[in-house]
Amino acid sequence: MLTPQRYWREIPHRYRLEAGRCKKCGYVAFPPRLVCPRCKNREFESVKLKDEGEIVSYTIIRVPPEQFTDQAPYVIGIIELDSEVKILAQIVDCDFDDLAIGKKAKIELRKIRTEGESGIICYGYKGILLE
């Protein structure tokens, strides 16, 4: 169960793809981190990820976790944005047969899931297959 507070604190990353760029080596951390995994530097600047990228891999989930039952089958992909950071997201608006590694995807906002009949509505990013 996703409580409002837990959902709320991730809003900047989920709505706006806010990330951190290491001031020393340029590593882009999404979500932002306190320590650069590449050079151990602790200073970051806030950056917004580009909203377009390339599909690195994808799968079609046929057996979903409980909260996603009504959405199945759905595509999950790893998308590389800006050639420097990868994110995992659902890829929507596509015929499954059109999917391929290397194809372009655009980021849009989606309703990820709702917490039961009366809980909060959770939003976040998704990829839209271009081409």
Binding site: P12, Y15, R16, D70, Q71, V92, D93, L109, R110, Y123
Partner: protein, 347 residues
């Protein structure tokens, strides 16, 4: 000069054809298509709602405006399908486009007029100097009860407009509003589908209010029908806007650029605002545009815009409305549509 500095549209990529709905209810598809001048309607994917559609339309508007989103001092979202009964849509839209936190935020609701209502208030406050830029959105994922005439048209889409005094490409020349208390269409609290007064929704509701607002604004500006290059009326179907246009002395040519309903259905709060985006996609500098919305309950808002030279700089910075209508589409059958729209009872 106060007017539009950014506009953007968003239409879901899924569609259902009139024939597919008619088949399920044993209705006469050719008669519906002719009677409503409707071929198909947009269907929101299950992960889309008024908020996500508003966000995408707003992002397109921001791309055209080319301004820092933090300069947006107000975010107004008009819809009759706000996902929360209590909790604003606008806060999510504002956060998603990066207009937070120094921002006035409000949701509007007035049946299909909520979009122009948001525009009306936004424009007024920008003109008054309350904030530099304001974002107004009309969006809906409307629902018609299964088998009801509304099910053939109730669709989804969003249009967003950023108002400002700098970088204006569509100046507001005049506004006008006309209303009365008319119970032609409503949805009570806790009810899933709206109810309507059947034929009562025509003459005493749609036509009376659109005519009232259109005649009011034309008189106020001493204009003639031929002074407008494009006119847009609320489009619950294809027939009504053409008929009301004729009653006001407009030709079909003046109406056609903004008439989207045959291909996407009635996007409710997004309806006439989306028509405006399609017109701005093709409008030339110096052209004048009249838009009149209609919201059941009932009322109409009217605006007259004059297009400036700047339109040529912004137009191509974001996807065009007709491209979204004619671009990549996925047709669904009624079963899929019913699943998408939460119409299947699971006990």
């Amino acid at each position: 000069m106060t007017g539009i500095v950014g506009y953007g549209a968003y239409i879901p990529r899924y569609r259902i054809k009139v024939e597919e709905i008619a088949k399920v209810w044993g209705a006469d598809a050719p008669a519906y298509k002719k009677g409503l001048m409707l071929e198909e309607k947009s269907v929101p994917f299950p992960d889309q709602d008024t908020i996500t559609l508003s966000v995408e339309a707003s992002k397109n508007a921001l791309q055209r405006a080319d301004i820092d989103p933090r300069e947006i001092g107000a975010v107004y979202v008009g819809s009759e399908s706000h996902p929360y009964a209590v909790k604003p849509s606008g806060t999510i839209v504002a956060e998603a486009v990066g207009a937070n936190p120094d921002c006035h935020c409000a949701d509007f609701e007035f049946a299909c007029k909520a979009g122009t209502e948001a525009m009306y208030v936004c424009y007024g406050l920008v003109k008054a100097g309350e904030f530099k830029y304001g974002l107004a959105v009309g969006a809906d994922t409307s629902q018609g009860a299964p088998g009801d005439a509304l099910e053939y048209s109730a669709s989804a889409g969003a249009a967003a407009f950023i108002f400002g005094k700098e970088k204006v490409f569509a100046e507001v020349e005049a506004t006008y509003s006309y209303m009365s208390d008319t119970p032609d269409f409503w949805r009570r609290e806790y009810q899933y589908y709206p109810q309507h007064g059947g034929r009562f929704t025509g003459e005493q509701a749609y036509f009376k209010h659109i005519l009232g607002a259109a005649r009011g604004i034309i008189e106020k500006t001493n204009a003639q029908p031929e002074d407008f290059n494009h006119v847009i009326f609320h489009q619950p179907n294809g027939k009504f806007p053409l008929k009301v246009g004729k009653m006001l002395g407009f030709s079909r040519e003046q109406i056609e650029a903004g008439l989207l309903v045959p291909k996407i259905g009635n996007t409710y709060s997004g309806s006439s605002p989306l028509g405006l985006t399609a017109v701005l996609d093709i409008a030339k500098s110096g052209e004048r545009i009249l838009i009149v919305s209609f919201g059941s309950g009932a009322g109409s808002d009217a605006f007259i815009f004059r297009v400036t030279e700047r339109i040529n700089e912004v137009r191509d910075k974001a996807p065009k409305t007709r491209e979204m209508i004619d671009g990549k589409k996925f047709y669904v059958d009624y079963g899929t549509y019913a699943k998408f729209r939460g119409k299947i009872l699971k006990g």
